[in-house]
Assembly symmetry: none
Homo-oligomer: 424 residues x 2
Amino acid sequence: MNSAIISIGDELLIGQVINTNASYLSAKLLEIGIPVEKIITLPDDEKEILNGFKSVFPKYDVTIVTGGLGPTHDDITKTCIAKYFKSKLVIDEKVLRHVRLIFKRRRMPMPETNNEQAMIPAIAAALPNTGTAPGILIDKSGKVFCALPGVPREMVHIMESSLLPYLVKKYKTRKDRRVIIHRTLHTIGISESLLYEKAGNINEIEINKKTSEVKLAFLPSNYETRLRVLVTAIDIKTAQKELNSAIEKLKSRVGKYIYSYDESPLPKAIGGILRKKKLTLSVAESCTGGLIASKITDIPGSSDYFLEGIISYSNEAKIKILDVKEETLKAYGAVSKQTAIEMAEGARKRSGADIGISTTGIAGPAGASKNKPVGLVWIGYSDKNISFAKDFYFTKDRLRNKEVMSKMALEILRRKLLSITIDN
Amino acid sequence: MNSAIISIGDELLIGQVINTNASYLSAKLLEIGIPVEKIITLPDDEKEILNGFKSVFPKYDVTIVTGGLGPTHDDITKTCIAKYFKSKLVIDEKVLRHVRLIFKRRRMPMPETNNEQAMIPAIAAALPNTGTAPGILIDKSGKVFCALPGVPREMVHIMESSLLPYLVKKYKTRKDRRVIIHRTLHTIGISESLLYEKAGNINEIEINKKTSEVKLAFLPSNYETRLRVLVTAIDIKTAQKELNSAIEKLKSRVGKYIYSYDESPLPKAIGGILRKKKLTLSVAESCTGGLIASKITDIPGSSDYFLEGIISYSNEAKIKILDVKEETLKAYGAVSKQTAIEMAEGARKRSGADIGISTTGIAGPAGASKNKPVGLVWIGYSDKNISFAKDFYFTKDRLRNKEVMSKMALEILRRKLLSITIDN
């Protein structure tokens, strides 16, 4: 079984937009055993698009086209599909109602051009979108052709809610379909090489070479290392068994560094622990500028345990809102162990939360001094029994620093909550 | 003049690696007037690669291949090139010396497999690399074929130090070489279709069809719409003139919606205005949970104008830190015009900032009531002369809501600072 992707849009050919859609689609199609064997990127040009359809559709089980479904003049994918399949464009009433509803919900008048969004080739079925452009599905001579919008969020929505289930059902009985599954575990606060030493050799994790294959990959990025376990097997039962077995081995070896077994982010893991332990949290941020609070509040229901965040960019705010002592700031400076501790204590006491965490550091590019380089951060922690702070030295890059300092503060919180030592 | 890119590697087809090389190459080739008209991604498979070469090389002035030049078993690009051009692989002594030197510098023994790195087709010239795999350049029948390593850093090095200068020199006198430049303007708070209606037809922007062509594209994502103006002209002077002229027309038609003419983000535009006007800002966030503050503090030097952020998730924090009246919360609820206004006023007065902005809304998935759906946000603004709040209705998705609510709050601030009406 195989598939191909045709990505349409001048923006992809002038280097303005990176083709992340193709990567996403490739990964998803692999998961259901329909690997992508070719990706073609074409301009918003009718002749090129028609040639592309001609060269791809007859050769692959599944062809997925992305882009060019919008309401403006440069969106020509739909008319090309109609021409290629010799099928007229007709109004789909259901889509039209949906498009009208979108504008109604936003309390905005619907521009005329949006009527065209509801037209699809007569031969096709419309796949519901959250946006105005529906997906277009054509199932012909045992092959599937599907056009999806180029907007990544909408493309993902249609893929997951409509197209993937459709493909899985259609090709259920194909014997040449291999089951490929994978799981990625997330670790933080440990180097790739140390993790590699502790996790051990891939061969110790491989289990049954005859019916399946297990591959372990170390994927480092921004002070996190992901562990990807990929299993290819003859059936889903074997694949699941091998995957679980490999994950159990990793858990026993490096479990304490793993904050997520299911791609869920660190703040979700922390939210789960806080909720279970019935604890509340407040944060005081300087160099991370609200990013920790934003990460925490990304999680639905975080209002159950998150009380408040104070972004004390100025010394005055540190003193007035967080009750940091003026003498502390004078004696040690804003970026110091003492200030971090008092900020965490202040956040906790002010709000009445069980726990306070804080960051004070130098995100860069300016603000460094001889003993306090760009990338230095003091992370503070305080509960009713203990207050402490720990320093880390990260990069020269402001945005990267904000990101990794925030994550490190959350990881310190996670380890403290689970009584895991903070040093490796 | 035109070109095509062939990207080789299984990692691109299983969704593990995003094809950033193709974007980089496209942008670079466009700059020298050799636009990319097709990108094909192929597996590490000899038959597929040879078919790819056959379908591309004869049709384009320039063909660039990336990937598959490494020393391991799955790197087969070089042997495919030799086969396609019917040219034997021979040792290039200069490359061999370079590869030996690399291992000597690393104080490592050179594995045998690396001898092969010094072999190139007899018909080709080697382009020096910092790594072990040289670029391979073939100039035949007026067309250029070039293979580059897949490692981005090495690919960029060879492109900039060898291939680009070579192409510029070779095609200097080609009369059909066009200069192509583009600029992208960013708008927010207006739908793609309404923007399209107001910006007008592309034909009204085109100016002189004989010596140049101007293309306008609408690129929507998350309530923003980018306007890309792309100009093709016979020389750079004409191109610049036409580009400026088109941008001026857009500015006069939809200028008030454009927050960026140079790809810089909204908080940077706002930071520039605040600094120029010598104004300071504080924020009070409920549903956006720190994201506005985090966006503002992403900008280096934001401490010049950003005083503090209060993330008042609880009603208590709204009352105690922001001085929101208990009666207001009781009478209208936390998500209301009145609360938004009092939060903005509170943020401003508490910190002594010139301006306060606030958000209170329902990010979802929970928290909605009959008259207050998920996606509703009240955005508050306050300065010494005026306080107001405005409501918007966004999506069902929490993270998208946080993102777009934050952007909308920043856009309201921008418009107010520039005395632009807030309703479209």
